[in-house]
């Protein structure tokens, strides 16, 4: 079976199953339905999965997560050194993808927290909300409004504008 998700980031809510206190002689329809579901759906699916897994166990293959070396940035390239520009551009694109995935993970955590807590999410998920706001604000200030043809140069120019605005504000 595939590995379970991170239980620290997505904690399970405390179980609220009540103690069974049967006072009637009538059968419990919920129990009947759950047994019906188990025998008609759960058991066949599990046996099929186990059968396929036992066939697959003979030809197990693995895949790895690629680690890229860090190369000089766009600011560290000499002017006119186009291969250096290309490598910096590719590295910036990889970093952009990584940052998009980070934002998606934070969004997913906030969504899960809201689903767990129900109506009291604003109070119980304060940490996730604060994290989400911070991450999205930073992402927007760095990569926002660059458009579909975003490049490392445009991002650098945006950073320059940000620094100039900060300096003008301080002065």
């Amino acid at each position: 079976m595939p590995a379970d998700y991170d239980k620290g980031a997505y904690p399970e809510p405390p179980r609220q199953t009540p103690v069974v206190d049967k006072q009637t002689a009538l059968p419990n329809p919920a129990l009947i339905l759950s047994k019906l579901f188990y025998y008609s759906v759960d058991l066949p699916v599990t046996t099929f999965r186990d059968a396929v897994d036992s066939i697959r166990a003979k030809n197990k293959i693995v895949y790895y997560h690629q680690k890229f070396r860090r190369v000089p940035d766009l600011t560290e390239c000499k002017e006119g050194d186009y291969p250096c520009y290309y490598e910096a551009e590719m590295q910036w694109r990889r970093d952009y993808k990584v940052d998009q995935e980070i934002v998606k993970v934070i969004q997913e955590r906030l969504r899960a927290c809201q689903q767990r807590e129900g109506h009291s999410y604003q109070q119980n998920c304060a940490k996730e909300i604060q994290q989400f706001n911070e991450v999205t604000k930073n992402f927007q200030s760095r990569y926002g409004d660059l458009g579909a043809y975003a490049s490392a140069r445009k991002c650098l120019m945006k950073q320059k504008e940000r620094m100039m605005a900060a300096q003008a504000q301080n002065a």
Binding site: I55, R56, Y63, Y86, E87
Partner: protein, 185 residues
């Protein structure tokens, strides 16, 4: 009636002589009841039998039949191959890169068919990267050469001492100065 029984016995004798001829089997000769062809019971179920006049749907059905055939011609083998790969080989599992081991470029993908494609058909991403960098370098050198050529042209035209703007003329030694040396010849 008697004649009919004689004929029947004669027909039976003829049937015994040549049993394979059609019409000579036992069912045709032994029936006492004579089949009446003017009154037959026709059963059309419930409802009135209608002769529906509609335009030919032969071409439509032929198109759909051919469409089905040509789609399934490659669709069924592809479906069998993909199902077989998913059941017998299955997707890869994520693992940590072992120490000192450099994975091949196809070992970074999950599905076995993607791995096969990147292994046998595509170039590795490293090779693509290097190809792109080589193209960028060549274009850079071309652009630099063009700029220097323009600069050299400008300088030579300005200074006038470069070989590009020199027009070849006749040799001064070849001029015959003898008619010019004595005036009023």
């Amino acid at each position: 009636m008697a004649g009919m029984s004689v004929l029947r016995s004669v027909a039976a004798f003829a049937a015994r002589l040549s049993p394979l001829k059609s019409g000579n089997n036992a069912a045709n000769l032994l029936t006492r009841a004579i089949p009446r062809t003017d009154k037959v019971s026709v059963r059309w179920g419930h409802g009135k039998r209608l002769f529906v006049i509609k335009p030919s749907d032969y071409y439509d059905r032929r198109f759909l039949r051919l469409l089905q055939f040509y789609i399934l011609l490659t669709g069924v083998p592809v479906a069998i191959i993909v199902t077989g790969v998913n059941i017998f080989i299955g997707e890869a599992e994520l693992a940590e890169i072992p120490e000192g081991y450099e994975p091949e470029h196809w070992e970074y993908y999950k599905h076995p068919i993607t791995r096969w494609i990147t292994r046998n058909i595509y170039d590795s991403p490293v090779k693509d990267y290097e190809k792109m960098m080589a193209a960028v370098q060549i274009e850079k050198e071309k652009a630099d050469m063009r700029l220097t050529q323009l600069e050299v042209r400008r300088q030579m035209r300005q200074q006038g001492d470069g070989p590009w703007f020199q027009v070849p003329t006749l040799n001064k030694e070849l001029i015959d100065n003898s008619p010019k040396s004595s005036p009023d010849h």
